[in-house]
Amino acid sequence: MSSIETLGRARPVRIPRETATALSLGFVVAFLSVVVALPMAALIWESTKEGSAGFWEVVTSPQSLAALKLSFGVSLVIAVINGITGTLIAWVLVRDEFRGKRVVNAIIDLPFALPTIVAGLVLLALYGPSSPIGVDVAFSRTAIVLALLFVTLPFVVRTVQPVLHELDREMEQAARSLGASEATIFRRIVLPNILPGILSGVALAFARAVGEIGSLVIISGSLPYKTEVASVYILSRVESGDRAGAAAIAVVLLVSSFLVILGIGVVRRLTTRHDVAQARA
């Protein structure tokens, strides 16, 4: 003890580990409360002001119902398309070799880096009224699908890629030597392994598509009953001063977000259990 003290330098005040835990947890909880929990509480509070009958009346009004249906319907389509194209792109990036692959790999993340409003504008430039290739889908549901495919592109690719990379190819070789066709190998060996990755990527893409606004405000045209998605509808409700209406639709989106997060958690837990079981076997 004395030898340590004779080192002479003023030793920092020791904070017991329990205190440090409490301090850091206190900071995390305080930060999350101010930034996330408090605003969410205000939102839920506002939506319950009119009672459950008022809430349902707002949510099931024709225009909001149309917006919600459009948002969730299109997002389902987006999820399915992404499940296929994302897996394909991940496959090509892991299993194929070609010049410029590293550049292709890098630009996959571009939709994460590019402001969504810019994404909407650039899509309008190529697929809008002054399209140089003669494709004009502006202010239609096709435009919404295009914009959402753009912003959700990285999700499935980035969740499947690492799994595919780690996948042991000996199993596939064994199957091949036993006479399995490539389709069978993919269906029976590759797919079961990458399915959790696909599912969590698809879930993230779905959540993102339901909530997306920036890339849609310009290219969708926001025509009520036709191309007005839920998030744009909320914005228009806020701007016309209808707080209760905006809050009710927002709560529907909030619940769906929580469900998606829970779903991803379940998928993750199932796969880790699966891994543990495999490791034990």
Binding site: E46, L110, L121, A125
Partner: protein, 272 residues
């Protein structure tokens, strides 16, 4: 007999070109268009569209908000990741869900919640008005909105790295008499630094590009609470397409810089 299948070479090429064609149609093509459209009327037109006082002010505001939000989220992300990985406490699952929420939630919902909290009829609205503090339609609400939407990135990057490095070195340092702070500064932070940097890059990109949440809480006062992304929409709505494209190009170039940084730091993270 095995059924006749496509040659493996052909199949590989079909897959490759399908993937690349998809990327061209969805990603590269549209992006190339913004360059072309910006300079359609010459370099000078693009430059003068960019240097109007309102546009310059919008870019300054975007940078200011980013400069406040990124450090806040970096500190939070590191502390939160350390708590999630290294500490045990009840309610960890709930904490995880809250941190993930901004990834899955619509930015408009975020903006609306802040609007309801700090607006005139909101919980804090009356008190704030009495004390003459402007939160909504001013910088504080815009910062809060941006912090919310860019919250998870640092934490989500640091968590797996912390798990991977384990806590043996930290325990060793503690056994040798290092304080918690010393262990953090000398052992933990150096080990996770590239994960932090990568998270910071992602956070920065999200802050620069935020639209939906800020659109609700900013009030879009030209020259005051208009960020670069809001300015793009305002220019487009005022039929100044040239101006909208010029601002978009600058934002796109920033995105490309972010992308380069991501590629560089990801490689460092993998080799570290």
């Amino acid at each position: 007999m095995r059924p006749a299948t496509l040659g493996s070479r052909t199949r590989r090429h079909v897959l490759r070109w399908t993937a690349l064609a998809y990327l061209l149609a969805i990603l590269v093509g549209p992006l190339a268009m913004v360059f072309w459209r910006t300079f359609e009327n010459g370099y000078d037109a693009a430059w003068s569209a960019l240097t109007t006082p309102e546009t310059v002010q919008a870019f300054k505001l975007t940078l200011l908000i980013t400069a406040i939000a990124v450090p806040l989220n970096t500190v939070f992300g590191v502390v939160c990741a350390l708590a999630i990985v290294r500490r045990d406490f009840p309610g960890k699952g709930l904490l995880n869900a809250f941190v993930d929420l901004p990834l899955a939630l619509s930015p408009v919902v975020v903006g609306l919640s802040l609007f309801l909290l700090y607006g005139r009829e909101g919980w804090f609205g009356g008190w704030l008005e009495e004390h003459d503090i402007q939160v909504l339609f001013a910088l504080p609400a815009m910062v809060l909105a941006t912090v919310f939407v860019s919250l998870p990135f640092v934490c989500r990057e640091v968590v797996p790295t912390l798990r991977e490095i384990g806590d043996e070195q930290e325990q060793a340092a503690r056994t040798l008499g290092a304080s918690g702070w010393q262990t953090l500064r000398r052992i933990t932070l150096p080990a996770i630094r590239w994960a932090i940097v990568y998270g910071v890059v992602l956070t920065t990109a999200r802050c620069l590009g935020e639209y939906g949440a800020v659109a609700v809480v900013s009030g879009r006062i030209q020259g005051q609470t208009e960020t670069a992304t809001l300015r793009v929409e305002e220019r487009y709505d005022s039929f100044d397409v040239q101006g909208a494209y010029a601002i978009s190009l600058v934002l796109a170039l920033l995105a490309v810089l972010v992308l380069i940084a991501m590629t560089v730091f990801q490689r460092k993270e993998e080799t570290a």
